[in-house]
């Protein structure tokens, strides 16, 4: 017991105790990834309490969903996680298809894998670059955005938009890929693959980065599950769960025949870890470093999946097919589906009542649950560690506030 007390930084600080102070971080603080306001109760440099205040971006997207048809709500899903809009489109499209018991063709299936995995890379690149910014290093951000730009160019060519795509839609996708697109995509992958080494050199193995993240903000396995954390945050804590493998058959069927290993540490080893830098000895499972590293592994994993899907998509000879009509009658009933978005498990829930407009629409945000664990992670940490911890959760406010 005495050890516990010795280790608690709040107690050590007692000797030099000053007045407690409430510090506002945000909503315009650059390291809060959007309009998040954190109220910290601090004593000197030690944070004893953290309270996130959210809702600055709230526009009641769910209420809007009750007034438009499911296909008309697709543009609103773009604005949930705007860094991975394709994955949001897919989650909603699949949920509506589940309610309508509608399946899509082979070509649409491979196209969806191709596009969403590409978007996962883009999202993780922003996550990585912005995390560097949080910790005070600017260059990784530029490296990350340089490559993300090329993915956005590919998306722009496919659907005309660079951020809010509305590309994947109920019953397929709005249009087929233009001719020559696959070659451009392959060229991007060939050029991108060697660059990942640079990212590892810039951040993963960087001594300062390791000092700032290893052993900081440790999230235990049980706590991660209890708080409903998902995605890289959950896998960073050593929980072997990925909806692409463990989810409902409607979703996992999309990845039928694809080979990928879930990026999670098992028996002290990451899959294929001989090709990556080794885990620093200061790092503890569940800390900021592991959450970051899982994202980096998923970039490689997604690249692999994109390559596989290019071959499969190119082998499909039939046309893509038309998506469902704008106002298709929904059956009476409800359906819930969670998909593995880059930030975590994104769930959509739809209730149909026989008309073409849903009775109720619900978006279960992964960042919402991931953020709710902040006050546990920041208890007793230094003020400078708060951006490191919140940044490692890789949240997007558009999705939290809806």
């Amino acid at each position: 017991m005495s050890n516990l007390i010795d280790d608690d930084p709040r107690i050590i600080e007692f000797d030099v105790r000053t007045d407690e102070m409430l510090v506002n971080m945000g909503p315009q603080h650059p390291s809060t990834h959007g309009v998040l306001r954190l109220v910290l109760r601090t004593d000197g440099e030690i944070v004893s309490e953290t309270e996130p205040h959210i809702g600055y971006l709230h526009r009641c997207a769910e209420k809007i969903g009750e007034n438009v048809t499911p296909r008309q709500w697709i543009p609103y899903t773009d604005r949930l996680d705007y860094l991975a809009a394709m994955n949001m489109n897919l989650g909603w499209a699949l949920t509506v298809e589940k309610l309508m018991r509608h399946g899509v063709g082979e070509k649409a299936r491979h196209l969806r894998v191709l596009i969403t995995e590409l978007n996962r890379i883009a999202s993780h690149l922003v996550g990585m670059g912005a995390y560097g910014l949080d910790l005070g290093t600017f260059s990784p951000f530029l490296y990350a955005f340089r490559e993300r730009e090329k993915i956005l160019d590919l998306f722009e060519e496919a659907c005309g938009a660079r951020l809010t795509y509305s590309y994947i839609t109920v019953g397929g996708a709005t249009a087929d890929l233009p001719p020559g697109w696959l070659q451009k995509c392959e060229a991007f992958l060939d050029q991108f693959e060697p660059i990942i080494k640079e990212y590892h050199a810039l951040l993963t193995t960087n001594a300062i980065f390791v000092k700032r993240t290893a052993g900081v903000g440790v999230l235990s396995r049980e706590m991660a599950i209890d708080y409903g954390c998902s995605g890289p945050v959950l896998r960073g804590s050593g929980v072997d769960q990925d909806m692409r493998r463990d989810g409902e058959s409607l979703y996992t069927g999309m990845y039928d025949g694809y080979a990928f290993e879930v990026a999670v540490q098992k028996d002290g080893r990451y899959p294929r870890d001989h090709t990556y830098p080794s885990v620093p000895k200061e790092a503890v499972i569940g800390d900021c470093w592991h959450r970051f590293f899982v994202r980096m592994l998923e970039v490689v994993q997604s690249m692999d999946l994109v390559r596989q899907s290019i071959d499969r998509y190119a082998a499909c000879r039939e046309p893509l097919g038309e998506p469902l009509k704008l106002a298709e009658k929904l059956p009476v009933g409800d359906a819930y589906l969670e998909t593995e978005a880059p930030k975590g498990q994104m769930g959509f829930y739809i209730v149909g009542n026989g008309t073409s407009i849903p009775w109720r629409v619900r978006a279960r945000s992964s960042s919402f649950s991931n953020l709710s664990v902040t006050h546990e992670l920041c208890r007793g940490c230094l003020i400078a560690d708060v951006p490191a911890i919140v940044g490692s959760l890789d949240i997007v406010m558009g999705e939290i506030d809806r």
């Binding site: 709230h58 589940k98 309610l99 819930y336 769930g347 279960r364």
Partner: protein
């Protein structure tokens, strides 16, 4: 959860707690009596097999038709339906619980219906219940800190209710 005998084991442990079920639906669901919800949830997390150790989502659906003409045609009575989506990490299985509540406690407009909180079972419920309270107007008894979460604290009304009307103005800002 489609396994045989699962529903029966809940019924045997909590007689009278299961008030309805639809196992043929797209997502099969079980309806629980409001007063027993927290007990059933605790059992599902700690005793039942498989263990539902994670709560994915809490949703409130407002079954109310404000248009009198359309309301005459609907087949249901006005009520609030709460939907709990549970997930079992070890078994990779999901379970849907539903709870029906009156729209207003004692049928007095403005008196929010009450439901036992499941915050003590899953910590996910903390923010999710705050959101349901904020947007749909359900009072969760036993919740440690039931405040609005997405809307400002001085906001009036619960926007996801079907009879909600946007205020004309908010702190001097025209709202509609």
């Amino acid at each position: 959860m489609r396994g045989p005998g699962f529903l029966e084991s809940i019924e045997a442990t909590f007689p009278g707690a299961v008030v309805g079920s639809q196992l043929e639906a797209i997502d099969p669901w079980i309806e629980i009596a409001p007063a027993r919800l927290a007990d059933v949830c605790r059992w599902l997390k700690t005793v039942g097999e498989p263990r539902f150790d994670a709560l994915q989502c809490i949703t409130a659906v407002d079954w109310f038709e404000p248009d009198a003409k359309k309301a005459a045609k609907v087949s249901w009575q006005p009520h609030l339906e709460l939907v709990y989506h549970l997930w079992s990490t070890p078994a990779r299985a999901s379970l849907v619980l539903k709870v029906n509540l009156p729209r207003w406690s004692g049928d007095v407009a403005g008196h929010l219906p009450e439901l036992p909180s499941v915050t003590g079972v899953w910590r996910t419920a903390d923010w999710h219940e705050r959101e349901v309270y904020d947007l749909s107007g359900v009072l969760f008894t036993g919740h440690p800190d039931l405040r609005r979460i997405l809307c400002p604290e001085d906001w009036v009304g619960h926007p996801l209710r079907k009879d909600y009307e946007m205020p004309l103005e908010y702190h001097g800002i025209r709202a509609r």
